[in-house]
Amino acid sequence: MFGIFETLREKLRRTDVYKSIFRHAYQDTQRNRALQILDNVFLHLHPVRVSRHATNVGYTWGMGGITFLLFIVLTVTGVILMFYYRPAAEYAYDDMKYLMNDVAFGPLMRNMHRWAAHAMVITVMLHMFRVFLTGSYKPPRQFNWVIGVFLLTLTLFLSFTGYLLPWDQLAIWAVTVGTNMARATPLLGHEGPFGAELGMKVNNDVRFVLLGGTQVGPPTLLRFYVLHCIFLPLIGSVLMIVHFWRVRKDGGISGPESETKKN
């Protein structure tokens, strides 16, 4: 019975279609395991071999990888949410109600987007905590830590700009509290030290630029929407590419020196 399947599978692996897709044979050999990584555009971010402690969840906590997974989840659910959402003050809230009540799987998509976003802030912080505790920012990885700090900031900005989009009381007041700080920016805010002396007023300071007005209103919604859906994810993606590439170039997952010497 199973012999038939075995023969079929063998035949399948010899077809042109199979070979054209996988580029290497199926047999479980050292060479094919290496090719599995090298010949796959998604997996070739990895080296072919790593030291055993780099696969140990107790060492890495897996937080960097989970953060990236959550970013992908957020991209997918975010695109689906964009189909149902118009970033204009007269529509935004009604679109949310529609999404939560009448769209098939709408609540699931929105919930997943929000919880994944909160989770991502947490995993980014834990990732940074782990990297600090293992001293992984030390040479040669100093600059990758700096990229990581930028990515942390971007994650917070992404979450903050997304917070406004439901356009409910929670959204508008949380963002009002957050952006009110910008009034007090030294030199650049109208209530900040030396702001008035430099000609800053409520309608020309840094907060005005951020909000597109003197208070959180329809222009702010559009501004935050564009930042949230286009600008910040793009910058984040570029920084992530650099971050991942640098992990490889700087010698992979950090490890104790004795082992680095062996390589």
Partner: protein, 294 residues
């Protein structure tokens, strides 16, 4: 009690409870690992230095982690709805108005400092300070394994900043701050009408020097006291340098790195000092000038 459950299970607060559990778990876990490493010859990580193939050893772990995360996320998203309150209304301010949870630590600092410090300068310094870490921590030890013994100052400082000043202030802002940003215990009903007497005084007034003169202009003596206090605080860094300049650590750091470390450290430690001054002595400002207050 209902109130406590209400706050703990408020949809947007669930992540904070989750974060708290994870942080307590990982802190304990990593300090245990560090202690084990500190007690033995060579780290546990060094024992796992042999090479394994990424396929399947690493890819397997990644796949399982992704499965577990997706399972948790799916169950979470099915069982708990994201909050959607009344439509935005600029003329109806909720009390309390809270920033998103990850900024609540900064919002909490607003009690103790003016917005230009709490809302702008401190976040900027946090980012710059984090970026500076790899360049000011030149201790070559503890690279790639858990340890505490070999980098006490670095780990204690980071943990103080992260666990005490960031995480616990977020918890304080979420669970202990109610209407009027007044302190409430988590199980206490939020009383919107609670009146808290404003008995704040300025630092110089503790020594009998009023901030304002009779004609309401600023008192130069008070400004002098404030300025001297702040200079004295930062001169602690200089004093420590003079005291320990012959030591190995400071010689290796050099004056530039040391100045940056001392400045960042003293600014960070000024925060809990000001919190204590406010809570114990009701001190509002250390220094009042026509342009800014500290």
């Amino acid at each position: 009690m209902d109130h406590l459950l209400g706050i703990l299970t408020k949809p947007d607060n669930v992540p904070i409870v989750l974060m708290l559990a994870l942080i307590i778990f990982y802190t304990t876990y990593s300090f245990r690992k560090a202690r084990r490493n500190d007690r033995r010859e060579g780290s546990e990580e060094a024992d796992l230095g042999d090479k394994v193939q990424v396929w399947p050893n690493l890819v397997k772990v990644e796949f399982l982690a992704a499965l577990v995360v997706m399972a948790i996320l799916t169950v979470w998203s099915i069982t708990l709805n994201a909050p959607l309150e009344q439509p935005a209304n600029p003329s109806l301010t909720p009390n309390p108005s809270k920033a998103p949870w990850y900024f609540l630590g900064l919002q909490e600092i607003l009690v103790y400092f003016d917005p230009w410090i709490a809302g702008v300068t401190i976040p900027t310094l946090i980012i710059l300070g984090l970026c500076a870490i790899p360049y000011i921590d030149i201790n070559p030890k503890g690279n790639g394994y858990y340890t505490f013994k070999e980098r006490r100052f670095a780990i204690l400082t980071f943990c103080f900043g992260f666990l005490v000043l960031w995480v616990s202030l977020i918890v304080l802002g979420t669970f202990f701050r109610g209407p009027g940003w007044n302190l409430f215990l988590p199980w206490q009903e939020w009383d919107t009408h609670r009146v808290v007497a404003l008995t704040n005084i300025d630092w110089s007034e503790l020594f009998g020097v009023p901030t304002h003169r009779v004609d309401d202009s600023l008192n130069p003596a008070a400004m002098a006291i404030g300025t001297i206090t702040i200079l004295a605080w930062f001169s602690l860094g200089a004093l420590y340098y003079v005291w320990k300049r012959k030591g190995d650590v400071l010689r290796r750091l050099g004056p530039v790195r040391y100045t940056i470390i001392a400045a960042l450290f003293l600014i960070m430690m000024a925060l809990p000092v000001k919190i204590i001054l406010r809570l114990v002595l009701n001190v509002k400002y250390i220094l009042v000038t026509p342009w800014f207050n500290i």
